[in-house]
Symmetry: C2
Subunit: 204 residues, 2 copies
């Protein structure tokens, strides 16, 4: 992903302009913040350009459309890296607890949290964001884990796990329910791991 | 609630104008639909007045502000009537299953569903709707049930039950995840009742 390249070359001037790379990264950071704060409909190319101090035409040049910008800004919002292999590396009977702990440890990081909040805020009003969440709840993130555990009805299991995690995440990060916002990922995993374990691998 | 009074007097003309009562009810119905479809920010007194075919001034006259109209339109969105006494009337060991079945039987009714969808769509962008959901997740609806069951940490229990129910409801009614939208309330209760039971009354 080219928003991960270094944005400044420290120490010496190379003669190359760093402007476009700086702007690309800056625009993504600002877009992520505005999508998280105002949702999809409340964010425009114009308000992002204003905050970034660049011309709207530059944003169109980089990302073509608001949809493209949204996609680039929130990519990776939902899935902790290597989830399946990390969950499967430990005892099967505690897969649910590890799943919860890996998700919330990842989502608690400021940038992942902002991406996730942007998706949660946007998904009730915009089809692309809703599709990202349907994918999360259905196929993309949780289904491979349910399939790896080899129990019947993996699609229903993935939907139950996904909807529980989304409910917890919305309560923790968007509604900021004090009892849930205060827990560490490990404490959240201890409290909800058994339910997630049943959905992943128990008798439904 | 005065939106429950009959809106037409059938059979004979009484000489009283039924206009204001009809309009009051009609405005609430239309507001509910627009809040559910477009969320709080995407709905205005003007768009409601247009769809209702009335002057905006009449809406202001009835409800003063958009906040007041929202409150009136979605009142009763979250809580099934007599939840606590109905859950407590059956065996304690299956309180979780009854809770899920009562909620989704109530929410599946078209008007309750529309009110709930309006709250879910609005809660990520508007403080009043978010406050309604925080109340649901915390104090108002689930806490009395957790307290009736008499186990320690009722506030944490209420937050866990509420966030799971909200996650399921959002997945079923807003994202329309096929695996969850297809289940009857009884099937949903069978699948998730054990988790809710643990949160309400089990070892956390």
């Amino acid at each position: 992903m080219n928003d991960d390249v270094p944005v400044v070359s420290a120490g010496k001037r190379t003669g190359r302009r760093s402007g476009p790379t700086v702007s690309h990264r800056l625009i993504l950071d600002i877009a992520r913040g505005q999508f998280a704060e105002h949702g999809y409909e409340g964010t425009t190319m114009r308000t992002i350009a204003q905050e970034a101090g660049v011309d709207s035409a530059l944003i169109h040049h980089f990302f073509l459309t608001k949809e493209g910008l949204f996609e680039a800004a929130v990519r990776g919002a939902l899935n902790p890296p290597d989830l399946v292999s990390r969950v499967m590396a430990g005892p099967r009977g505690r897969a649910g607890e590890r799943t919860v702990e890996f998700f919330f440890t990842y989502w608690d990081e400021p940038e992942a949290r902002e991406r996730l909040t942007a998706v949660l805020r946007s998904a009730t009003e915009n089809d692309e964001a809703a599709e990202a969440l349907r994918g999360f709840l259905g196929d993309v993130v949780i289904l491979p884990l349910a399939e790896a555990l080899g129990r019947p009805e993996p699609r229903l299991r993935a939907a139950l796990v996904g909807s529980h995690l989304i409910g917890l995440a919305t309560s923790r990060y968007v509604y900021r329910v004090p009892e849930l916002a205060a827990l560490t990922p490990a404490a959240l995993a201890a409290g909800t791991g058994k339910a997630i374990q049943t959905y992943l691998a128990g008798l439904l």
